[in-house]
Symmetry: C2
C-alpha cells in the first residue's frame, strides 16, 4: 500500500484476531517496511546468534507509549517509542542490538496513519546504531472506545562490554553533572497539540536517539559514572532518583540550566516548572571532574550535544535533623537554595 492521503481504509477488529486480515496487516504494513532476516521468519521468538559474546553482559528494557497526540511537532509515537527504548539501553552504557514492537490499536484507526507511524519507526531505527532493528512483534486490536488511537510497547536488548560499568551507585563526590542541551521541549511540544491549552509555539520535541552521542562520550572517558535520560518527571525527577540511588547530595546551578526563552515564557504563562517537564532527547551524565572537559568536547561535536553544559556538582551527603535522605539543591540566580522534591502529582499526563 502506498501512503495516500485519499485512503480511507481503517483498522478492523479482524486485523487483530490471528486470521487472514491479521496476516495481511503484518505482510502489507509491518514486514513491508521493517523486514529483516530475523523478523521475516515470523516465529514466536526472535533468535539472535550473538558471536564473541563471552564475558559480556546483556541489558533488557521495556516501555509502553500512550502519548496524546500521536503526531506532535518534532515527532510521533513511532519515533518516540524507538528513541525511548534505545535511550534506556544506552544509558546503561549498552549497545542496542534488537527491538520488539507491540501495537495495541483501536478499531477504526486510519491505515494511512499506521503506515506513517511504521515509516517513522523505520527511519528512526535506520538512523540509530541498532542495526538489526525490530526482530519480534505483536499486534492487538481493541474495539472503538477502548484505546486512544494507538499504544505502542517497545522492548529492547543490548550488550555491554565488561569494562563499561555505568550505574548510579558509581557516582562519586565532586562528579560534575552534565546535560546535553536545553530542557522541557518535549513536554511543551506535546501540550501545544492539545486543544485545551490553546497556544501556538515554534518549539519542537527534542525526541532523538542518543546512542551515537553516548558512544562518543564513552570513547573519550572511562570516568562516566552514571547516565540517565530525563523523560517523565523531567530533569528534577532524574536528579532526585539518582541522589537516592547514589546516596549523595547534588547541587544544581539555576543559571547554568539551558532553557529556551520561548519554553520559559510558556512555562511562566501556564504555571509549569520546566525542571519537571518531560524531555525525550536529554541525558544527564555524572562525570569525574578531571574528564569533564574532554567529555563536553566530545558531546559538542554531536548535534544532540552541541549545547552540552555542566549544571551541577555531587556533594558529600549532609544529614540534618529534618532530612535523613539525600537532597538535590537548586542554587537560584539570587543565591538562595531550593530543595527539589517529587511532586505528589505530576503536571502533565500522557506525555510519552
Amino acid at each position: 500500500m502506498k501512503i495516500n492521503n485519499n485512503n480511507n481504509d481503517i483498522i478492523l477488529l479482524a486485523h487483530g484476531d490471528g486470521g487472514k486480515k491479521s496476516a495481511d496487516l503484518i505482510n502489507d504494513f509491518i514486514l513491508k517496511h521493517l523486514k529483516n532476516n530475523i523478523l521475516e521468519k515470523l516465529e514466536d521468538s526472535a533468535v539472535l546468534n550473538l558471536k564473541d559474546f563471552n564475558g559480556k553482559k546483556i541489558a533488557f528494557t521495556t516501555d509502553s507509549f500512550v502519548v496524546k497526540r500521536l503526531f506532535f511537532p518534532g515527532g510521533d509515537i513511532g519515533k518516540l517509542s524507538v528513541c525511548g527504548t534505545i535511550n534506556d539501553l544506552i544509558t546503561s552504557g549498552c549497545m542496542p542490538i534488537a527491538l520488539s514492537l507491540s501495537f495495541i490499536i483501536e478499531e477504526g484507526f486510519s491505515l494511512y496513519d499506521l503506515e506513517k507511524i511504521i515509516l517513522s519507526i523505520k527511519e528512526t531505527v535506520n538512523s540509530s546504531t541498532c542495526k538489526i532493528g525490530v526482530v519480534t512483534g505483536d499486534t492487538k486490536i481493541v474495539e472503538k472506545g477502548y484505546a486512544d488511537g494507538m499504544y505502542i510497547n517497545t522492548s529492547g536488548i543490548g550488550i555491554i562490554n565488561q569494562e563499561v560499568n555505568i550505574s548510579p551507585p558509581n557516582i562519586e563526590e565532586n562528579d560534575d553533572i552534565i546535560i546535553n542541551g536545553s530542557i522541557a521541549e518535549h513536554g511543551i511540544a506535546i501540550l501545544s497539540t492539545r486543544k485545551e491549552f490553546n497556544f501556538k509555539t515554534n518549539i519542537k520535541s527534542d525526541c532523538a536517539c542518543l546512542d551515537k552521542l553516548v558512544i562518543e562520550m564513552l570513547n573519550v572517558s572511562k570516568n562516566i559514572h552514571a547516565l540517565r535520560d530525563a523523560t517523565r518527571g523531567g530533569l528534577a525527577r532524574v536528579l532526585i532518583e539518582l541522589a537516592e540511588l547514589s546516596n549523595f547530595d547534588f547541587e544544581i546551578y539555576e543559571d547554568t540550566i539551558p532553557i529556551k526563552n520561548e519554553v520559559r515564557g510558556i512555562c511562566d504563562f501556564l504555571g509549569l516548572d520546566p525542571l519537571y517537564i518531560a524531555n525525550e532527547g536529554k541525558i544527564v551524565a555524572f562525570v569525574k571532574n578531571s574528564d569533564t572537559e574532554i567529555v563536553l568536547n566530545a558531546m559538542r561535536k554531536n548535534p544532540s550535544g552541541k549545547d552540552a553544559k555542566v549544571i551541577g556538582k555531587v556533594k558529600k551527603r549532609k544529614n540534618t535533623r529534618e532530612r535523613t535522605i539525600p537532597k538535590v539543591s537548586l542554587i537560584t540566580k539570587l543565591g538562595t537554595h531550593r530543595v527539589l522534591s517529587l511532586f505528589y502529582s505530576e503536571q502533565l499526563p500522557r506525555i510519552c
Copy 2:
C-alpha cells in the same frame, strides 16, 4: 497494602506521571511482590550477567494482552501474560531467563484488582523455570475511557543451547503432529465471562506455562523439529502457518483431536469451530516418527501433557492446478477431506 475486599482505593492519573505517586505504586505494589536483585535497582535497563554464555543463542519475544475480561475461569490477565511469553520462548526451544512487565492502566482501576493481578504474576513466575523473573518494567496510566481496565505487555528473553534447533523449516516428511491435550478451552472460558453470550459452563481456561513440559520433551528426543503454541486462531491457524513455513502438506485426523464434550456442545450451540478457538496451554509438536512414543511418554508424565496425542502427519506437498501453496487437510470422521484455511475474520476478539 494487604489485599482487602473493602479497599476502594483506585488508580489515579498521578500514578503514571513519574512523580511521588508513581514511586509509591512501584514500591507498594510492583516491588513488594516481584522484587529481585535486578528489578529492585530500578534502572532504565536491567543488566543480566550471563555466565558461560559463549556459543549460545538468545531468544527475544513480545506480547501485549488485551483480554476481555481481566479475570476468567482458570486465570487472569496476569497469569496469561506470563504464560503467553514463556510459551513463546519455550517453543523456540529456549530456556526463559527474564521477563519485562509493562502496564497500561485506566484511571479509576481498583488497586485491589491490581494487587490480585500482580500476585498472580508472582505465582506464575515462581512456578515456572524462569527463575530470575521480572527484571524490568513500566507503568503508564491513561484517562478513564481510554483503556478497558488494563492492558499488559510482557517481553521475554531466554537462551538456547547450540544443539537445540527447533524451527518450522526443520519439519520433515512423515513427522508426527502431536498435541498435549484438549483444545478450545481458553476461548470458551473467556466467552463465558461476557454477558452478551449469556451461558454458564464448568470449562476453565487451559492457561499454563509449558516450559517444564517442553524441557522434558527435549530431554528425551533430539528429533523434535518444530513447536508452536496454539493461541489466537487456534489449532487451525498454527497448522496453516507451519505448513507454509515448512512447505509441507499436513493431514489431521478429526477423531484424534481431543475436545471435551462440553466444549463441543457450546461450540455447536454458538456456531463456532473449536479448531479456530484460542488455547493458552496447548502446544503442537512436530516429531520424527521414530521418537514419537518416547516423546508422548515424557509428555504424559507432566500435568500439562497427560492427554497428549498424535493428531496428524506431515505429507509431501502436492500441488494441483487449483492450489500452489501447502495445505492442511482435516480427515473427518466420515473420511472426507476438508482443507483448512485462515478465516477472513476471526470468531472472537480480545481473547488474549
